[in-house]
């Protein structure tokens, strides 16, 4: 499902002493099937932007077009429910919202809310559990007997059971151990590549942004700074530094090495093995006096 954002401005508490511009004249288009990561400081407007994508916030000016649904200021959006079915939102710490007696019931809750029959909801719950790589036996357990990583998967399965076309992820790996982190990122890549889910992720983790996304979008104080492939966005180290944003750790290491060598070795590389190859190559050139 394509997403088009045109001249989007959002003002909190307009015409009051507390008026604050959260988003200013944002123009973006996100092609169906893209894995887009949004980075930016606390207060840069990331969350406000996400909340427009399923109608939790309405534009003050401009419009947001998600598939066939148009969200614009002044006009009432009729099919909000349909939109929310298509745009699945995984909030921070989604496991805090688990509440049912069993995992199966918890996952079925979303689809049933959207009018799906009990049988169909159960079928979807079984499929969703498989998608998030949990064993079927977990369906009968209480969600509160699971580990943190498992609980997060169950919460994500609950969103997947609604069968969205767009998945929105707000800091999806916060609080997970390194293995849980890797597994959950692999899961999102799988859902994006295999199931074709358009994925929009907000993260503070520059390594994830660089490694997993097709495109990275940088926000600063309500403005869109740049949206491009990770290699292009992370090339501009100076700009990211100015915005107080980090670069991936592979590039930070290249920066240290460059400083030592008094040369510029920094190049957008994100994987450890390719970075090692690059360093070996550069050093051999140095050694050969090239």
């Amino acid at each position: 499902m394509d997403i088009i954002i045109k001249n989007l401005t959002h003002v909190y508490q307009p015409n009051s002493p507390f008026e604050r511009i959260a988003l200013q004249d944002i123009n973006v288009s996100i092609a169906s099937g893209t894995f887009l990561t949004i980075i930016g400081h606390t207060g840069s407007g990331k969350s406000s932007l996400l909340q427009h994508l399923n109608g939790l916030l309405k534009p003050t000016r401009g419009e947001v077009i998600v598939g066939n649904t148009v969200l614009a200021s002044g006009s009432k959006t009729k099919d909000l429910k349909a939109l929310r079915q298509k745009v699945g939102m995984v909030f921070q710490y989604p496991e805090h919202q688990l509440f049912e007696e069993t995992v199966e019931k918890d996952i079925m809750f979303g689809p049933i809310n959207f009018g799906v029959s009990t049988d169909e909801a159960r079928r979807r719950a079984h499929k969703a559990v498989e998608l998030v790589h949990l064993p079927k036996t977990i369906l009968e357990k209480s969600p509160f007997d699971l580990s943190g990583g498992q609980m997060r998967r169950v919460a994500i399965a609950g969103i997947l059971a609604i069968e969205p076309e767009v998945l929105i992820l707000d800091e999806p790996t916060a609080g997970l151990d390194p293995r849980g982190h890797r597994e959950i990122m692999d899961l999102f890549v799988h859902l994006n590549k295999r199931e074709g889910l358009t994925t929009i992720m907000v993260t503070h983790n520059m390594d994830d942004a660089a490694l997993y996304s097709d495109e990275v979008m940088v926000m600063d104080r309500g403005h869109l700074v740049v949206k491009d492939r990770p290699e292009v966005v992370f090339q501009d180290v100076d700009r990211l530094n100015q915005l107080g944003l980090d670069i991936p750790q592979t590039m930070r290491f290249l920066q240290l090495l460059s400083a030592k060598a008094e040369k510029d070795f920094v190049t957008p590389l994100f994987g450890i093995d390719e970075t090692a190859d690059y360093i070996a190559e550069r050093l051999k050139k140095e050694w050969d006096g090239v």
């Binding site: 606390t42 990583g149 609080g175 151990d177 503070h204 030592k260 090692a276 050694w287």
Partner: protein, 283 residues
């Protein structure tokens, strides 16, 4: 370095229900030394936070003994003193505020401990200064950023002049800048005031810079030692739900992929850069 033990944990067992089959902590033996930065890491559910909550009596072990400077946590009369000595910063900065201003919030703990007003005002000033938040004294806590909130929480703790501060995943919800600010403040308190820091964390880069680290797995302590030693033997760490720090992974890749003859010594990024550079200048 002279090691003075500040916390002893002896044969501690804990479970969340009396009839639970799984122990959240089993047979924990661990000493914490005065002035050290101790990182405790392990997979989700390994018992890290449970252990932390036992250290100031928020949870009581079923078996075994924990002493903080000779005060046993089972001694009800000592519990107030233990909670003053062992301050705790939790994960979610929004769940630990009571005051309507930063100043009130920092004063709250001191009022509870009956600290005399003149002394309280002095400590209030000093604590906010120590965490670089003195300019925010009149602000409302909920309007601060995550990193600022955590620093206010730390100020409230150090106003009580504790010996130990436990960070229970206290930076996991913060953005990179907030995280750095909180860790910088704690490092300064550790170095200048000699406050012992116990940091429960999944962040291996942070754990790498600790004086000592403990790895937990399913309620047990499975490794203990200097981070550089622990990561020197990477076998098994991944199975424990952990990963290797970036420098160790890159060093391995440089040896295996790049065919560069490196030693196993480099542990920080700087050490690895230096070693690569020494190699290149030798040729």
């Amino acid at each position: 370095m002279d090691k003075e033990t500040i916390i002893t944990i002896d044969n501690v067992w804990f479970r969340y229900a009396d009839d639970a089959e799984d122990w959240a902590l089993q047979d924990i033996h661990l000493d914490v030394y005065s002035g050290e930065w101790l990182a405790i890491t392990g997979h989700n559910g390994s018992g890290k936070s449970t252990l932390a909550k036992c250290l100031n009596g928020l949870l009581m072990p079923e078996k075994g003994e924990i002493k903080v400077r000779d005060n046993a946590i089972t001694d009800a009369n000592a519990l107030w003193e233990i909670r003053r000595l062992v301050g705790m910063v939790f994960q979610n900065p929004d769940n630990q505020f009571v005051g309507t201003t930063v100043r009130d919030d920092v004063a709250f703990g001191m009022e509870n401990h009956g600290i005399e007003r003149g002394d309280m005002l002095k400590r209030l000033e000093a604590s906010l200064k120590a965490v670089d938040m003195q300019e925010f004294a009149e602000r409302e806590p909920h309007r601060l950023s995550g990193g600022q909130k955590q620093r206010v929480a730390i100020a409230g703790i150090i106003a009580l002049e504790p010996a130990i501060v436990i960070l229970d995943e206290a930076t996991s919800m913060l953005d990179p800048r907030g995280k750095k600010d909180v860790l910088d403040v704690m490092r300064r308190l550790n170095e200048e005031k000699g406050i012992t820091v116990i940091s429960i964390t999944h962040d291996l880069e942070e754990a790498s810079s600790a004086d000592r680290m403990v790895v937990m797995d399913r309620g047990k302590v499975v490794r203990e030692g200097q981070p550089s030693h622990i990561f020197m033997e990477p076998e098994g760490l991944v199975e424990l739900g952990l990963d290797l720090p970036f420098t160790v992974k890159l060093r391995q890749a440089l040896k295996e992929h790049g065919h560069i003859q490196l030693s196993d010594k480099a542990f920080t990024q700087k050490e690895l850069v230096d070693e690569l550079w020494t190699l290149s200048s030798k040729i």
